[in-house]
């Protein structure tokens, strides 16, 4: 085998080519890492947003969009009495009437932006225990509380949505009374108002849904049975986790696009790399032949050439990992129903390293085979 230092020294023969290889592979690896982080982030936020202990009672036929759903006001009381297995604390059952409403709101800078609004009562905190009021108060009349990532979804500065500030909804000024967190869920990109206010502003006479929190996810059957025994209420019972899983499936083509984009760019970079290495290795045919003539086998030379390429690509992968940790980790990305945070975790890092490794390996093999292919006498005479 050729010593490892031979491959390392060869890397620096052409600094321009080395920088090209490192830069190219770094960009591809960064792109792949970003794709994985975006995919994971979107999937994570949508799966964390729905609890399998929560059941959403929506209007029959509106299973795919809560905003379109219409549920009579009386449903909450009937469901509370009719569904066994609802969580109960201090004699109060966890049942929340909600209006989900998507509309444009007026922002502090004068712009309008589409926001997801939810009309709630204090009962909502029983069914969404992940929601924590981090600052201020629960909204009263004429007030809203904003999720801690709502600023990102609305394209604002964090300081634009602080307590005491205001937004306008249907020409009505709403004061920001509080800020809430619901870590890792789309809820924290929403704006919550009192149920009464949103009923008036959205001009609704019905609810969007009633959310029940069960003691045990297996009790979903009881809620489903209730919906089918009360056909007069025209309800459909959905597991909250299934609803968000459906949304996740809806965004699948978007996630696929990130993969396709990354794949196309990676393929382009791979061909570019192959091309560069063809030129680089072609000029070293005689050198390889000389090494063969002094006793090194073709296999050893192939390993050395692959080592060179892989080292350069892994350096690029390392560079990309540093950039990903500095620039991507913790960054929030808005999408149509909320925002999610990118996480550069072990999975993303391993994908980056494997991509770098594959780039080095796949990019080097064809040019290396071509370089080592000519018979020794011919190769020794080549210029």
């Amino acid at each position: 085998m050729l010593p490892f230092t031979y491959a390392v020294r060869n890397l620096f023969r052409s600094k321009t080519r080395l920088l090209q290889t490192i830069g190219g592979s770094a960009m591809v690896v960064l792109l792949v890492m970003a794709s994985v982080a975006i995919n994971n982030g979107m999937k994570r936020v949508l799966s964390a947003s729905g609890s399998d202990r929560n059941v959403i009672l929506v209007g029959a036929g509106s299973e795919e969009s809560i905003q379109r759903s219409e549920v009579p006001e009386t449903t909450a009381g009937i469901a509370e009495a009719g569904v066994p297995g609802i969580e109960e604390t201090l004699g109060v059952r966890a049942v929340s009437s909600e209006i989900h409403y998507m509309n444009y709101i007026g922002l502090p800078d004068g712009r309008k932006s589409q926001a997801m609004l939810r009309g709630v009562t204090l009962q909502t905190l029983r069914v969404h225990p992940e929601v924590r009021l981090t600052e201020g108060e629960f909204p009263g009349a004429g007030e809203v509380m904003v999720g801690r990532l709502a600023w990102r979804k609305l394209g604002l500065d964090k300081s634009d949505l602080k307590i005491g500030g205001s937004i306008t909804l249907e020409n009505q000024e709403m004061k920001i009374s509080g800020i809430f967190a619901a870590p890792g869920t789309v809820l924290e990109s929403e704006i919550w108002a009192s149920l009464g206010d949103l009923r008036v502003l959205a001009k609704r006479e019905t609810l969007s849904c009633v959310v029940l929190r069960l003691n045990d996810p297996a009790d979903f059957t009881e809620a489903d049975l209730f919906a089918k025994q009360r056909l007069d209420l025209e309800l459909s019972a959905l597991r909250e986790s299934d609803y968000y899983a459906g949304l996740s499936a809806f965004f699948k083509p978007l996630r696929a696009m990130t993969w396709i984009t990354a794949g196309l760019i990676a393929a382009g970079a791979l061909f570019g790399g192959v091309n560069t290495l063809y030129a680089a290795f072609a000029s070293r045919v005689r050198e390889m032949a000389t090494l063969q003539s002094i006793g090194f086998g073709r296999g050893a030379l192939l390993v050395s050439l692959v080592q060179e390429s892989t080292l350069a690509c892994l350096t690029g992968a390392l560079l990309a990992s540093v950039v990903a940790v500095v620039l991507l980790d913790g960054r929030t990305v808005p999408f149509s129903i909320g925002a999610f945070t990118l996480e550069v975790g072990p999975g993303v890092a391993i994908t980056g390293i494997v991509t770098g490794l594959l780039l080095g390996l796949l990019g080097a093999l064809p040019p290396a085979f071509r370089c080592l292919k000519p018979p020794l006498p011919t190769a020794l005479r080549m210029s």
Partner: protein
């Protein structure tokens, strides 16, 4: 050129290999439990309905809790007309509701949800059929797949109108269920 083609093929394979295959969520009926239906359920399925079967939309206007009725229809009217783990299904009235598969141009994958019918028609043309124990509680066993009961199956049911039924809501405690061939 050959090498480039090989590289492209490898890249595509690597890309495709990264995509997870998800099991298709086909609308397959769950198999009935291995131990078979309970005696209570078997008795209801083994009994022939009596009397002349009437359509749901006609009977619901006059039926009162405790009345003995016989209705016929199709299992439809909801995206999931059965309740998992319970002996309950939704019966739809074919005179009011049209299963989407009856329209050859309709490519709906869940024809039993009657998505083309209005909410009013669905309310008027559906009834809940349940099998209850002697205490009046719905049996805790799935009825889907038992005795030929499946989505869009034609069914005739004899039973008593359950408490809580009204002109807006028809619930039948089934005493006899027959699946039409």
């Amino acid at each position: 050129m050959k090498t480039k083609t090989t590289c492209l093929t490898l890249a595509v394979i690597a890309l495709l290999a990264s995509c997870k295959k998800e099991e298709s969520a086909a609308n397959t009926s769950p198999a009935p439990s291995a131990s078979g239906p309970s005696q209570a359920l078997s008795q209801v399925l083994g009994t022939s309905p009596t009397g002349e079967a009437k359509p749901i939309h006609l009977i619901r206007a006059t039926a009162k809790p405790g009345d003995e009725i016989t209705v016929s229809g199709k299992i439809m009217g909801n995206a999931s007309p059965f309740v998992e783990g319970r002996s309950v299904f939704i019966l739809g009235d074919p005179e009011v509701l049209t299963a989407c598969n009856e329209d050859p141009a309709d490519k709906c994958t869940t024809p039993w949800d009657n998505c083309c019918d209005s909410k009013e028609d669905k309310k008027r043309g559906t009834a809940t059929v349940q099998v209850v124990d002697k205490d009046g509680r719905v049996l805790k066993e799935s009825i889907e797949g038992v005795g030929g009961l499946a989505k869009l199956a034609d069914v005739t049911v004899s039973g008593k109108v359950a408490e809580g039924s009204s002109a807006d809501l028809l619930i039948i405690n089934a005493q006899a269920i027959r699946t039409e061939k």
